[in-house]
Amino acid sequence: MIAYAIMVISVCFFLLPMLWIVYCSFRTQESIFTAKIFPPLEGFTLDNYRRILSVTDFPRYFLNSLRISSLVTLISLVVSVLGAYGLSRYDIKGKDAIIVGIFSTQMFPQVLMLIPLFLVVFSLNLMDTTTGVALTQLILVLPFCMWMLKGYFDTVPKDLDQSAEVDGANLFQRLVHIILPVASPGIAVVAFYSFVVSWSDYLIVSVVSQSQRTATVTLTISRLTASLLVRWGQVCAVATLTIVPTLILFAFVQRRLVEGLTAGALKE
């Protein structure tokens, strides 16, 4: 009984707000302003979507976001798989220090690093480029991905790749044929996490992006509610299109997500 009560309350609190904006994205401005929850049928429309997809620059920002987040995911996958394998399988000098160091980056205030970061990107001539945004966003995801994957790789018995090495398999072959199949849930989670964090990032994009060339959906949506007369129907449509990609990916990895997220913390 209590469990059911908690379930119902949670659904209302955590899911209703999302459903509400999706619902309102199909309503006209007039319908929203009647302040009724269930308006008459003529209050529903597809106009909000038609407008933001054809009149505004939203499709362009959406593609920017897709491009940046895909690049972050790709680099993050390669770098963190290699790094986590190195940390999991080899006795490197200062290994513990590196692991604590990676974890401790989580306490660095991003706002403190922002101006120097801006200058680094500037001096690399990467201002307002997809690469520039992606490279800087990597610092948001790499520590967590490496930590998570290392936890995952640690659960794969060392004998497996040691015997493969004796058989003459090189590093690449060991990674592809032995580690990756076993750790594929972890890999999926790393990809998901990288994509979503990059998609959601506001702080770094707001500094590195200077124009429409690299502006993302997150940047767009945060500027929408600033004006006085807000077209709420369109805002809701933009918000819906912003959250839908992350929700679709979430649906795909949902089952593995928990397993992957907790791999690092559960093994001890």
């Binding site: 707000p17 509400w20 929203i32």
Partner: protein, 289 residues
């Protein structure tokens, strides 16, 4: 295995982290001892000048207090509510599996979207919250919830809870599922109440996960910029001003890069003290085991 290979493997990660994390951080700390400004090309070292200025900066102290209070309240509430949610999700009742699979949705959507959703819901005229309040006759409560100094801070707390409590619940649940069922069975035979077994079996069983979640969320919440900046910008009248937002405003709106950096350095110091204490506790825990 060959040790040289190992270094090659971690060098890409270390290089990126050095160029885009360690170096900017060191530069940020260096800037905090200067009078750097975005308005002029040159600057000089002024020793502890910025930190002296901070002592008399009323807004800094306000932001510091808000940051600490926000972090403590948010993490505590998330912990308690997360435990309750995890307990509920562990009950095998019809519909629970579906519930478990969708509940983390609020955690995966962008914070900017979350803020937009709640800003819309908090609107005085068309907001869902106020529509409901009016319909049950509480018209006097109707307001723009983020625009009222007496409610804005609570709204920020609510945003954090909305995003993170399901994440806590799901991770705690995963930890609970590693506790052998036989422990509960024998406790039941010994006559332990459900509350007793929760206290003596479940909590110790997931203590490590609790430690990790609390530690990481203290760091994340204290450093969080997006929620406050996007929802209220620190206002109204500084009622939600927190350190990350204040640093950003000093650096980018008032062009006081040096002073902004010095406040950032204070944030780092506070978190470093917290982090070292965590590491010591963790070391001690391992030693005792």
């Amino acid at each position: 295995m060959n040790r040289k290979n190992a270094y090659l493997l971690i060098i890409p990660a270390l290089a990126i982290m050095c160029a885009f994390t360690v170096y900017p951080l060191a530069e940020g700390i260096r800037l905090s001892f200067t009078n750097a400004s975005m308005l002029r090309p040159t600057y000089r070292y002024i020793g502890l000048g910025n930190f002296k200025q901070m002592i008399n900066d009323r807004v800094f102290w306000l932001a510091l207090r808000h940051s600490v209070v926000l972090t403590v309240i948010v993490v505590l509430l998330q912990l308690v509510l997360g435990l309750i949610l995890a307990w509920a999700m562990k009950q095998e009742v019809p519909g629970m599996a579906a519930f478990r699979s969708v509940i983390m949705a609020s955690w995966v959507i962008p914070v900017a979207a979350t803020v937009t959703i709640f800003k819309f819901m908090a609107q005085p005229d068309v907001g869902f919250i106020n529509i409901i309040l009016r319909s049950i006759g509480l018209d006097r409560l109707v307001r723009y919830w983020f625009g009222d100094p007496s409610t804005a801070f609570a709204c920020i707390i609510l945003l954090h809870l909305w995003r993170n409590v399901p994440f806590y619940g799901i991770t705690f649940l995963a930890a609970m599922q590693t506790i052998p069922e036989s422990l509960y069975e024998s406790a039941e035979i010994d006559g332990a109440s459900p509350l007793q077994s929760f206290w003596h079996i479940t909590l110790p069983g997931i203590s490590h996960m609790i430690m990790v979640m609390v530690t990481i969320h203290v760091l994340w919440t204290f450093n969080n910029f997006d929620f406050v900046y996007l929802a209220t910008g620190g206002g109204p009248v500084d009622s939600t001003q927190v350190l990350p937002v204040y640093v950003y405003k000093q650096s980018w709106d008032r062009y006081a890069a040096g002073y902004g950096a010095s406040i950032g350095t204070v944030m780092l110091l506070l978190l470093a003290v917290y982090f070292v204490i965590y590491l010591l506790i963790q070391k001690k825990g391992e030693y005792e085991r």
